[in-house]
Structure formats: structure tokens, C-alpha cells
Amino acid sequence: MIRFQGVTKLYPNSARPALEDASVEIEKGEFVFLVGQSGSGKSTFLRLVLKEEKPTKGQIWVAGKDLSRLSHWKIPALRRQIGTVFQDFRLLPNKTVRENVAFALEVIGKPRHTVAKVVPEVLELVGLGGKEDRMPDELSGGEQQRVAIARAFVNRPMILIADEPTGNLDPSTSVGIMRLLDRINRTGTTVVMATHDSHIVDSMRRRVIELEHGHVTRDQSRGVYGYAR
């Protein structure tokens, strides 16, 4: 589903590459944790998958497509197959829960009746049934992240990318979010989650890819956050 082959990313005006000679293969339906300290290259990895950045060297395949051969106007089609969730939720503060999720479908031109049908379904799935008309600032952090996950998943993407989705949440709320991501993973969606949270990684026992100064230093199935713990 995602394949990196000798990928190096050097940002302009930066002496050290953010990612160097990274080779990783993630299969369809996998759940992968991307761990490492700040600046280790996790975010660069995710940005490369979304083709928000181009690699300096190496090749990347996502959902069967060679990103280096993907023309500019086909990038939107790629991103429709990837849902994205962030630490800071990125909801639209002046739209309701329902409108926030519907927005993701409207801007890719889905017809109105489709939107009306799938938005309640996905809100039910993430456990927000009955809160459709709330504004984001009336929700708790965990609920806001659920809205963000609903928005990322409403188009049934093949890949879900989560960049520190529990970074702003307390431990018990984080557990709920992880259960939700696990459930989404069980529908066949590949989940790639960058995180700092050792408890979560340790308790989930999924594949762990560790990055350090831009290098892949560990790739372990059913791994834990770090050896030293």
C-alpha cells in the first residue's frame, strides 16, 4: 500500500536530511506506529505519502501509484484515497459537526443525497450520534478528534494517516480514540500513526517503525515503543 525505496528528503536551507535512505513497505490493512523523537522525520514521512513534499532521492509508491510519475492535477485523486488526522484536529470552528464532515465530501463534488446518507453513518460509527448539530467548541477534545476522524474516514479511504492524534488528549480519552482507529483498521483500512505515546504503542502491540535523525533504526512487528523501557 505504501512503499518507500531509498528515500532521502533534504529541505532547502537545511544541512542534515530530514529523511535519509529510508526503505519501508507497508501492506494493505496493516496498522503501523511511526515512533521517534521530534525532528526524527515522522512528519516528513507522512508529508511525503501525501505528496505535500517531493523526495530529494528515491521512490515512493502509494496505493499502487509511483508518486514521482503522478502529475500535479492527479494529486487530489491520490489524497481522496488517504484520510488524515492531526494532533490539533483542524476542524472548521464556524461549522457544526455535521457540516464539518459534510465539507470533506462537498469539496470533492459528491452529490447532495450521498452526503446526506453517509455523514450520519460515519458519525454513528465514531460514536457522535446525537451530536451532529454541536459546534466544535462545544465538544471535548476527544469528541473533536472523533469529528476529525469521521471527516478523514467519511470517504472510505484506503489509508488513514494520523499524526499524533492523541497528543492533545488525556490518557483515558486516548484509549477511546485508539479503539476507534483500531476499528477503522479492521474494516481493511491501512492505518499509519505517528506518536510519542509509549503507553499506547506498548498496549497495542502492532508493527513499530522507529525513526532516528532521519534513519529507520527499527522495524518490528508487534513491537513496543522502545527497548530501554
Binding site: P76, R79, I82, G83, R90, L92, V107, I108, G109, A152
Partner: protein
Amino acid sequence: MRARFVLSEMSIGLRRNLSMVLAVVLTAAISLSLLAAALVLSKQIQTMKDYWFDRIQVSVFLTKAVTEPERTAIREELVQLPQVEHVYYESQSQAYARFKQQFKDVPSLVKNTPESALPESYRVKLKDPKKYQIVASAVQRMPGVDQVQGKSKALEQFFRFLGYGQKIALAVALVALAAAVLLIFNTVRLAAFSRRRETGIMRLVGASDLYIQAPFILEGALAGFLGSLLAVGGLLLTKALIIDRGIHGMFGDVVNYVSWGAVASIIPIIILTGVLLASITSAVTLQRYLRV
């Protein structure tokens, strides 16, 4: 493309950015008005310029009682002068036809002028326009010559004045249009910035460039269109009040004034300039500030 979605995004943007959009509308209106003024002046000059104006330097009008030998003698005298390049003859009926054409917007004048009131004439083109005096004195006293006229000094100055006015209006219009472009550029940039949350999410979920940019471009186009409508309104008022009632009322039919048809032909130019300028500027701005 879901029109309703794009339109609602556009109206949200317009409301959020109202003061800047108003500034764009007014700047566009002012610059387009000046452009319209320049165009009206050029139409006015075209309307007033006589058929002969660019062709001849000296007109020799003949008396009513001129005889055929006199006519021939005058022609031969003109042709043999070394300063003369060409001599045209205009008969009474030709003069009348041109008169009718020239004053077709003033039917009362045409109706009250019989063909016999217009003199026949020789229209002379000189090799060197400054030698006018030599040619004039050579034929002035010949029998059958009523009067010799050089190009009217006053008229020429008037045209020069109008020409300057046109050039100034055009220059100021260009400066104002440049100001409008810069203002649109800034407005769109601000609009893109104030909606970066929305556009960021749109990019992330895979909205196409067109979808993301259309509301901004339409916003710009609408502002340009409103500005051009204001300019057109000003143009029509100028024609109705200043030209037709003001100048025409004061000076009467001394010259032909720019017609409603000529004014109407300017309107599409103004609207098209306004809309295209605004949408192209918006699109170019977005290329820089809203990359996928």
C-alpha cells in the same frame, strides 16, 4: 462542480472581506471610468474630424456665379504650382452628401440647408503644409474664387487639446488600473490567508485546484464586474447630462457630439476589461499563494 457550494463559499468570503472588496469595487470603478473617458474622447475626436481634415491643407471655395473657364483656370493655376501635391474637386452635390453624412444626428440642420447653399471647392494637398500662404495668394484674386481657407488654427488647437485630454485620461486610467490590480492582488491574498483553514482542509481531502480557487476567482470577477457597472453608469450619466445637456445646451450644434451608438460601443469594452482584469489577477495571485 457543485455550483451552490462554490457560491456559498464565495458569499462567505465576500462578507468576511467586505471592506477590501468595496475598495476593489471603487478602485475598479474609478480606473474604468477614466478608461471610458479616454475612449469617449477618442470617439469624439473621430466624430468631429472632417473627412478632408487629414487629407488637405487648403480649401479654395468658388463663388456661386463661377463660370466653366474660370473653374478651369483656377485648377490649372493650382496644379502648376510647385508646392501643390494634389488637387481634389468637390462639387455642390458631393459637398451636400458629405454635409448630410456629417450632420446626420442633427436632422433639423440638414432639412433647413438646401444643396445650393454649399459651395463647390478645390481641396488642395500641399507638399509642405507650411507653404500655405504662397498657394493662397496665388489664387486669392482670381475671378470665381470666393475665399481661400487654410486649416482652421482654432479648430486645430481644439483637436490638439482634445488629444491631450485623451492621452492624460488614458495615462491616469493605466495608473489607476495598476492600482486596482495591486489592490485585487492584496485582497485575494488576504482572502486566501483568512480562509487558509478551509483551503488547507480542502487540499487534504483531495479537492481539485478548480474547486479551491473558483470561489476566490469568482469573488474577484464579481468585484470587477460591480466596478465596471459603476463606471458604465458614470459613462451614461456623462453622455446624458454633461455632453447632451451641458455642452450641447451651451454651445449648440457647432460641432458633432459623440453619439449614443458610439457610447454604447464602449460599454462592453469597460465591462470586459473589469471582469477579465479582476479574474486574471485573482487567478495569478492564487497560483502563488494557494499551491496544492
